[in-house]
Symmetry: C2
Subunit: 320 residues, 2 copies
């Protein structure tokens, strides 16, 4: 039989509540590396019950008991070991559970969803853990915009659903933030007239749980009006580095910073134009997050992949 | 989170082409041990394509390329390690692939189907490997009876399907016989007026790949008219023990033999009445096969399960 044990992939988790920008963040990373190098999957597919069955249950789809969490953990472990899995499929359009699909690990496996960091075992499968953390009022606007647009719900329905899910968000989703290496905390600054509709200012927490790129020579004092580094304390008091980036900094200031991080990544190709792009605009907080994630992906790939022939990022891979 | 790593179960494979009696053999073992101690699954669920998709393909459902063989192997390995799996589901009634189901290993995991012994990796997951091997003319009668009865096909359709599958049976199903510890070779004796419709005489090969019960003091010379032991050579020339049992031996002769094997199993309970039963009659070849399999199951369970409180077979377990 063929050998199904492929080289170990780099494993990236993108956790967060619904409508926090997980898919947008993932898309930019996939586009930068090339679809043939990345496989992405959503662990919300591990729902134990379909929409009809959930109607009679005392919890929402956010509850671990509503998901095959142990199987999710098992599949993450298998993917991290380079094995194929037969992944369950939840159809968001009709709320049905459908035939599973084969997922073959590639150089990078991006795992996004509500609960990828829910257990010690699942967390241990990842090389890089990201948590997206917009304030609830921002998330509400994002979720209404998406669910009323693409998924056909009324604003009233979306707001009701958010209320129904609130206690389980607090109990099961938000605690994952404590286990992330990188946390993106969007923060619209009312004083600057920012609203949740646009790309707000953000703090990006770089926790010392993994070795982040040294940004002290890149984000220097002369750009501190729009972006700055700060040594601060995390919610639990531990030391953490934070990048603060304003909502709409001038590109003349941010472009050299992005170029410098890209240069630190060490890829012999120009900065991908898709970095930070969302709905036709460039979000600088998104761009910085994607670049730091790409830095880690390429570091880990280089560490583990000395036997590989191809570099993870090539010029061809990034041309759509 | 709860510990999903249960004690390692005993793993039993029952391989054979379609309509060779796999389900009948399994049923008697489940009934003897009690449904709460056994979980059985069919690896034909690992079909890669549904019935509609298979219409355009140059092979039948018997071909390894038509099945997720690597995933089957992975799932067998996980079950053998005591882990739950999310098993794919093929609906034989409508030919569709459906939502997967959770399978939790119990004391005994029975894995039946067309290809459970197809790969080195899958074979290594089993403690006991059985292959059912009726002659093709017997299997044809069994398959016509079943598929025309329960599955609503015409005899012409069933015969056509057998012809279509013949080369893949030869290439992929029958080679598994070489990897079984126990082979049941049904052999209607024309000289005795036996037909495939009834329970024919059989050879049961006991390969020295596992430590079979010592039958020399049980199947003695004074019963050799209807059942006897024979030291012989396997198809590849290696030594093998064979039990030959006639189609309809008198119960006065076979009952003490079954009681003696049951006693060797060492369970403090009477011989289960369901042993050997098929469609209201007792097949002695089936009964002997089931008893020898039970002997191995209980031996393996005892070897691996000193930490368990409950014996595998209790009187309660066997009362339906």
């Amino acid at each position: 039989m063929r050998d199904r044990h492929l080289p170990h992939p780099v494993m990236l988790a993108i956790a967060g509540d619904s409508a926090t920008g997980k898919t947008t963040l993932t898309r930019g990373i996939v586009e930068a590396l090339g679809v043939e190098r990345v496989v992405s999957l959503c662990v919300d597919d591990y729902h134990r019950y379909d929409r009809e069955e959930r109607k009679g249950l005392p919890f929402t789809a956010l509850h671990p008991d509503c998901n095959y969490v142990a199987v999710m953990e098992q599949h993450l472990r298998l993917l991290a070991a380079g094995e194929e899995i037969l992944k369950p499929v939840y159809n968001h359009a009709n709320g049905c559970l459908e035939r599973p699909v084969l997922v073959t690990p590639r150089d990078l496996v991006v795992v996004e969803g509500l609960l990828p960091l829910a257990t010690r075992g699942s967390r241990s499968c990842f090389d890089i853990r990201v948590y997206l953390d917009p304030p609830e009022e921002v998330r509400r606007v994002w979720k209404v915009n998406r669910d009323c647009g693409k998924r056909g719900y009324s604003e009233e329905q979306v707001v009701q659903e958010l209320l129904r899910r609130e206690s389980e968000s607090a109990a099961f989703i938000r605690p994952q933030k404590a286990h992330a290496d990188l946390v993106v905390m969007f923060q619209p600054l009312k004083a600057r007239g920012e609203t949740p509709d646009v790309h707000p200012s953000a703090h990006i927490l770089l926790r010392p749980t993994i070795a982040h790129p040294n940004l002290t020579s890149i984000i220097t004092d002369d750009v501190r009006e729009v972006i700055h580094l700060k040594l601060t304390r995390d919610e639990d008091g531990r030391p953490v580095e934070a990048i603060h980036v304003h909502g709409y900094p001038p590109p003349s200031v941010t472009r050299p910073i992005k170029e410098a991080i890209w240069a630190a990544i060490g890829v012999d190709a120009p900065l991908p134009e898709t970095i930070g792009m969302v709905e036709g605009h460039c979000s600088e907080s998104l761009a910085l997050t994607q670049l730091i994630v790409l830095y880690h992906v390429i570091q880990r790939h280089a560490e583990s992949g000395t036997h590989r022939e191809a570099a993870l990022v090539t010029t061809e891979a990034r041309v759509p």
